[in-house]
Amino acid sequence: MARISITVDGVRYDDDVEPRTLLVYHLREQLGKVGTVVGCDTSNCGACTVLMSDPDGRLVGVKSCAVLAVQADGRQVVTIEGLAGPDNTLHPVQKAFHERHALQCGFCTPGMIMAAVDLLTDNPDPSDAQIREGLEGNLCRCTGYQNIVRAVRDAARDLREAGRSAAPAAPTPLAGEDETPDSGLPREQVPDEVIPQPVP
């Protein structure tokens, strides 16, 4: 067992995990973050995509089935459950997916939305071809991608018009370390300001 501490959707979780545990199973089975799903076992489908801070603290899209939980130690993770702002204001990408009917069964949707947020963070004004290339690692069996492309295009426009980046708020440093092992549940209600929010 390895001791890890990950801040997920603004709440810090300290857990003992088996070194082989994949981040996606840690999120789902230990932390109850079942909004993030598993669609394959070869890192092809992208259903499990979340944002994770890199060593510089920048949130980037990762396939959480291709990351070990121990590799996420000390990192910030944002899942689909933490993407909406306070009072459940939808992120512009979520809103555009709804407006454009960019989902049917919705199984690919959490990963697709997170991948789209990642894409728009890197490229706020992508062409349709760049959107299609950018989402190549995320499979959808229902929509034929047409409305997903439209939704991402709309979200990009809305973000630009609002002068915002697609990225949720910059990761905050971990709260003070607590030595006592916990049950994997959040130790404290995190104040509003550290809940990842879109930059106004």
């Binding site: 799903v37 076992d41 939808l90 049917q104 069964c105 989402l135 069996r141 929509t143 991608y145």
Partner: protein, 795 residues
């Protein structure tokens, strides 16, 4: 009649709120106290006798609570059901959920481990010991039928499951096809292969069974909770009222979750044995190797025609791969196509023969379109071949044969009565949207210039039968269930409405569309309607979602239930308004005295009066709730014209879909947004069959395309922008005028794309390419065409 006019509006979906925020209830999310996790050991052999199997070593592994094999449960596990035994003498082998003595395809379940965690169960699988004695593997359909062939089921003495024939001469729906062939000026003979496909829904299948409490509760990622409840009860001998089935949010199906699976029964047996809740969620590898596949048939076709392009008849022989057993509706899938090989054309003679064959592969069964894409592919490819033979434009040859708008209702050579349609209108619209004439000019220029990238234009003018189905027709085809659908409308005291539907959506947006219908019919706000589905405790009656049937059949049941609510409310409104019920009309969501457009009472007013029941007229039952069950009198027949332009690189064989136009006529659209989404998804699955996907077994029966690396679903980057439009021929007999739309795109798209690829290379001597038209296959086709050209030139 109504003022809200929800029906026809592009309402954003209610379902989305939970799906875009990660608050969805997938089966795999369910965790129950004391729940055990199952892992399933699968056969690595395509055909073998199990000479020894020992689960005991797994029991010593950490966290393992139980382990058992097929032998341990042989007397209690039952046999998986087939509900469509298409002939009286069909060969129908037993299909134990866990193999007992013999395995007949790679991936067949042989043993199960129950443990405290998923990881512990998976770890312990390696400890189960199995000795296999290999048996001969049967894979090739034609060899399987040959004299002295090795057998998938030795005790059956044959690999032939059934022969099924429809003949228009014998049925009295047309003439003799042999006469048509004998008298034809042109006969086109072709053999096409419908490659094996995998439905590949994105949510892997998952099952939870809880044996505690009064009922067995089964949560399953299924399209068919009602059928599953009935069949679990029959197969396991559990009284039906003791079984509850829930299909929570289900992540796609496409026919792939229209099945009673080994895993569902294994979980049921394990939960019953262990007295604890159990869960099994398949990995993608498990899913690809063991969930049923689709298509996989050889089509031998003969089309008879006159030189003026008039088609005289069509003869079809199918050799259809059943896989190793018969799944829920395996034998019937090719027959769903039997009535559609004539497409939109009115030729007078038709014969269809189908032979079902066992092989050592996983079963085939429903996959989006189920029989109808194969039929449409055949006739639409043949129409192109006929056009080439006669030097006619492919649109023109279709025009000369299709049913004209004024000829509906039209009874076809296959005996179906097409309800309505306007093929010319849809085709003209599609031609204009694509810019057909311009593309033909560009094509001519590129040919002229010897451009290495050639342009091809493909046409597919399709119809399909959907809205399954009149129960009597299903009965005459020996299908084991009816085709009705049910709806209940409950008006709550505050005037909010609960709809309980027998349909079981898994991406189709029924919660939204059904709310739109109820909003219009009862005059309540869209947001005041809640649609309950997929739980046999609330929705105890239904026939579920497949075959583009839910709106076409279930929509009528819902409409009728709403009418009953209005009828029930009428005397109550009359009492509230102190008038004679006969003087009331229900308009714009209000009961009003005829001629007095002010005032009036709403359904909500009546529901409160019913709740208190202080002052109801004598003899009026204090409820507004109503049920309706509707059995359709006919199928419904959407149609459309899909056109596709592809660019084919003759040096690399690479195909790019440059533009795609789909003009569909699905009758009236309740929600055009959802209709368009269904067309997009359907078209892309059709394109995928044409260009990308194939399930491939090697010579030993190992599935080579066992991951998403090898079974290549298209990504966004592989696909073009789709242009969609609609024409509208309302469905007669449907109060909303709606036809089905779930499968149309898939049925139409495959031949449009392959016709385009072949069209691009026709001048180079290519007349067919085996699907999927991968760069390698296209390149090979070009090479062999140029070889035969050279040989031809020398002779």
């Amino acid at each position: 009649m109504t003022v809200t006019a929800e029906v026809g509006a592009p309402r954003r979906r209610k379902e989305d709120a939970r799906l875009i925020t990660g608050r969805t209830m997938w089966t795999e999310n369910i965790t129950l106290p004391g729940m055990l996790h199952l892992a399933i050991l699968r056969s690595p052999m395509a055909h073998a006798r199990i000479t020894r199997i020992d689960c005991a070593p797994a029991l010593g592994q950490p966290g393992v609570v139980a382990a058992f094999s097929g032998r341990d449960v042989a007397d209690v596990q039952g046999s998986l059901p087939c509900a469509w035994l298409v002939t009286e003498d069909i060969v129908h082998p037993d299909h134990p959920p866990l193999a007992v003595d013999e395995v007949r395809h790679v991936g067949e379940a042989v043993a199960v481990v129950a443990a405290r965690s998923r990881a512990a169960a998976l770890d312990a699988l390696a400890a189960v010991e199995v000795d296999y004695e290999p048996l001969p593997v049967v894979l090739d359909l034609e060899q399987a039928l040959a004299e002295g062939a090795d057998l998938v089921h030795a005790d059956k003495g044959t690999n032939r499951s059934y022969d099924w024939v429809f003949d228009s001469g014998a049925a009295g729906t047309g003439g003799s096809v042999d006469e048509a062939l004998a008298s034809a000026e042109v006969v086109i003979r072709r053999r096409y292969r419908q490659q094996r496909l995998i439905p590949a829904f994105m949510e892997p299948r998952s099952v939870v069974v809880d044996p505690t409490g009064d009922q067995y509760s089964i949560w399953s990622a299924t399209q068919i909770p009602h059928i599953l409840r009935f069949l679990v009860s029959v197969v396991t001998g559990t009284p039906e009222q003791k079984v509850r089935v829930v299909a929570p949010d289900v992540g796609g199906g496409f026919g792939g979750k229209l099945q009673v699976t080994p895993e569902e029964l294994i979980c049921f047996v394990a939960a019953r044995r262990l007295g604890k809740p159990v869960k099994y969620t398949e990995s993608r590898a498990d899913s690809l190797v063991s969930a049923h596949h689709g298509r996989d048939m050889i089509q031998d076709l003969e089309l008879a025609a006159r030189r003026d392009g008039t088609v005289l008849g069509l003869k079809v022989h199918l050799t259809a791969n059943m896989g190793a057993y018969l799944g829920l509706v395996t034998p019937g899938i090719p027959l769903l196509g039997a009535f559609m090989y004539n497409g939109i054309y009115k030729f007078p003679a038709y014969r269809f023969e189908c032979t079902g064959v066992f092989t050592n592969t996983v079963i085939t069964d429903a996959y989006r379109g189920a029989g109808r894409p194969e039929a449409t592919y055949a006739i639409e490819r043949l129409m192109d071949e006929l056009a080439v033979e006669l030097n006619l434009d492919p649109i023109e040859v279709r025009r000369r044969n299709w049913i004209r708008a004024e000829e509906f209702p039209f009874t076809t050579v296959a005996g179906l009565t097409y309800d309505s349609g306007d093929y010319a209108a849809a085709t003209d619209r599609a031609l204009a949207l694509l810019g057909y004439d311009e593309l033909r000019r560009e094509q001519a220029q590129r040919r002229e210039a010897g451009d290495p990238v050639q342009l091809g234009i493909g046409v597919s003018t399709y119809t399909e039968m959907c809205g399954l189905a009149p129960s009597r027709v299903l009965g005459s085809l020996r299908y084991g269930a009816g085709g009705w659908e049910s709806a209940m409308v409950r008006v709550l005291p505050t005037g909010k409405v609960e709809v309980v539907t027998g349909t079981s959506p898994h991406g189709q947006g029924h919660e939204t569309a059904w709310s739109q219908i109820v909003a219009d019919e009862l005059g309540v706000p869209f947001d005041d309607v809640e649609v309950l589905h997929g739980d046999t405790r609330s929705s105890y009656k239904g026939l579920d979602t497949y075959g583009s049937r839910s709106l076409a059949v279930g929509g009528i049941a819902l409409y009728q239930a709403c009418q009953k609510v209005v009828e029930k409310a009428k005397p109550i409104a009359a009492r509230l308004l102190e008038c004679d019920p006969a003087d009331l009309e229900f308009t714009g969501g209000r009961f009003q005295v005829r001629g007095h457009p002010d005032g009036g009472k709403t359904i909500a007013d009546c529901s409160l009066a019913v709740f208190t029941s202080h002052d109801l007229p004598d003899g009026v039952e204090p409820t507004l709730d109503a049920d309706a069950v509707y059995d359709p009198v006919n199928f419904s027949f959407p149609h459309g014209s899909h056109l596709c332009a592809v660019e084919v690189d003759t040096q690399t064989g690479r195909v790019d879909v440059r533009s795609y136009v789909a003009v569909d006529d699905v009758g009236k659209a309740v929600n055009p947004l959802i209709v368009e989404g269904q067309v997009h998804g359907g078209v892309v699955q059709g394109i995928a069959q044409a260009l990308f996907e194939e399930a491939v077994y090697d010579g030993d029966g190992n599935l080579l395309s066992g991951t998403f690396v090898d079974y290549t679903l298209p990504s966004a980057a592989d696909l073009p922008d789709l242009v969609t439009d609609r024409t509208e021929s309302p469905a007669p007999g449907h109060p909303l005028g709606a036809k089905g739309v779930g499968e149309a795109g898939t049925i139409a798209a495959t031949p449009a794309v392959v016709n385009a690829v072949v069209d691009a290379l026709r001048h180079r001597g290519v007349s067919d390419i085996q699907m999927p038209c991968t760069p390698e296959r296209v390149w090979q086709a070009l090479q062999s065409a140029s070889r035969s050209d050279q040989q031809g030139g020398g002779s």
